[in-house]
Amino acid sequence: MTSRVFNCHTTRPLRDAAADDRSSSTRAPFRGVKLAAGLALLLVPIAGAAERPYGWLVAGLVALALLVLASIIGRHVSWGWLLVLVATAGVVTPRGDLAVIGPALFVATAICLLLWLANVRSGGGKHGDGRPRPGSREREAQVLMGMYGERHVGEILARELPQEYVLINGLKLPRGAGDIDHLVVGPTGVFLLETKTMAGRIVCELDGSWRRTRIGRGGTPYAAYIGDPAAQVQRNIFAVRESLRTRLPGLFQRSPLWIEGLVVFAHPRTELQAGHSRVPAVRLEEAAPRISLHVPQRWLRDAEVDQVVEALLADAREGSVGAGLAAQSAQAVVEVALLLPVVLALLFGTIGLSRVIQAQTAVVAVAHEAARAGALGKSPEDARERMLQRVQLVAPGVGLDARRIELEYNVSMFRRDPARVIAVVRYPLDFRDLPLGGWIPPSAVRAEHAEWIDPFRSGIGLGVDDSP
């Protein structure tokens, strides 16, 4: 019996583990409802304000309906398709007399988007490999059975292995394929055990594929999920080898360390035929003798056993931190990629609108200057010429391209009382240099200014010199 046992599993009761599995399943509470409620509280006043007084009411009712829907049958609603539907309706539905639907569709789109994003990772579809759906009774029983089996195998190994052996349960290495159920390090080498607690007839075919058959209550055989335990063991062997090669390169010089893999079937009602497995598959009672009686190419000294154990435990500690950070980074990248268009649309929209306002202010100034220049003319022709020249002169100063300015002038009232000239300036806007700006239809800003002509100015003959 060995007392050198390391448990890397979190010490949870079995029912908690099953509950954890359930929490990630389709039975889990639908995520994002509270967040959606907060979003609705923020967006309804903003969107509803555009169509008062009923915009708030309709947007609020729609948001409430969606939240109730999400709370009751959220897991069964395809939020992605609903999002597409609502967003499309928002684009194609003419406002007209039903202007209040605009805020409602806007709020609905935002809520659907959030609920879809919050739940898109939870899956919930059926597995194509016959594995029970997360949350199903079968899956729950499988998880409980698996954890029970791992614990049982750990106890048996600890009891039957000699004291020189070290047992590590639930080791998780970077680049590994999930947890390593059991790792045994001792004089006869390093052994990696994958535990399967599955009843039924389990066969490894010639091509290395695994098949499991169970007998139903009515005596009918049916196929049950098993996966490929040998492949899982091989991936973990690779992870252990890489870990040791990095931390203890000396072990791999001269006579390299050989890492043995074992698939251990712990269920008492397992009928095993695994002669073709790439990794030896044994029943539980065969595991400890196979390890202790193994004849390795290279024996490990006590000090080497300790080094291997320390190296693997250290790698597992550092890997758990790194994996968490990597997963967080990847998730953040995905979320930013999804949300960036919203932020950019706001940014470029604001830039585009700023251009419109700047151009509008500029054409008002140009029209003003043109009319004032025209009002100083000696004749309608002179007024026209002065206006054209003035436009060319002042346009660059207010940030406009003089070549693109369209000037219309009215000098027909040059000699009337009150005499005046009118300048109309039009300037086309171009948004093609902005992302998606090409979709904006051609538009222009326009300004008009009238300037009265001083009748007492000499030389223009407006009839004020009417001597008595």
Partner: protein, 150 residues
């Protein structure tokens, strides 16, 4: 689990900052519209003041042989008002008809136009209407100025 706890962090972040982003964009939009309206109104006030300043008191002008040049207050005010009414009628739709105050002294016309513009986004903070005002003076100038002028 750390990853589980941090799920949808960007979504939470966006939810919190979206109102701020939209407020900024809204402020830019309403602020821009306010600036443009103010500029158009100023253009009208300038033109109206100058239009009023063209209406001299001809009797006084003739009586003094051109030495006493003053505005005809009634004509100047009427000209300025005519200009304002004509030009404002062509401009944007204001919340209420703009009010115009025209003051005429012997050599100066003062035009003050006050209007109200409805907001698009500032309604959220119950700022439905923003006042816009423009003021302009025009003085009577006479004689020959350096540079010849028109």
């Amino acid at each position: 689990m750390m990853v589980r706890r941090s799920a949808a962090q960007a979504l939470v972040w966006l939810t919190l900052t979206l109102p701020l982003l939209m407020s900024t964009a809204g402020l830019a939009i309403d602020g821009g519209l306010l600036l443009a309206s103010r500029r158009e109104l100023q253009s009208v006030a300038d033109g109206a003041a100058r239009a009023g300043a063209t209406r001299l008191d001809k009797e006084r002008l003739r009586g003094s042989a051109g030495a006493d040049i003053q505005l005809d207050p009634a004509l100047a005010e009427a000209a300025a008002r005519e200009y304002v009414d004509e030009r404002l009628g062509q401009q944007r739709v204001w919340v209420a008809p703009p009010t115009t105050q025209i003051g005429v002294s012997s050599r100066r016309v003062h035009v003050l136009i006050e209007a109200s513009m409805s907001t698009a986004f500032l309604r959220v903070v119950h700022l439905d209407v923003v006042p816009v005002a423009a003021s302009a003076f025009a003085d009577v100038e006479f004689g020959i100025r350096d540079g010849g002028g028109g």
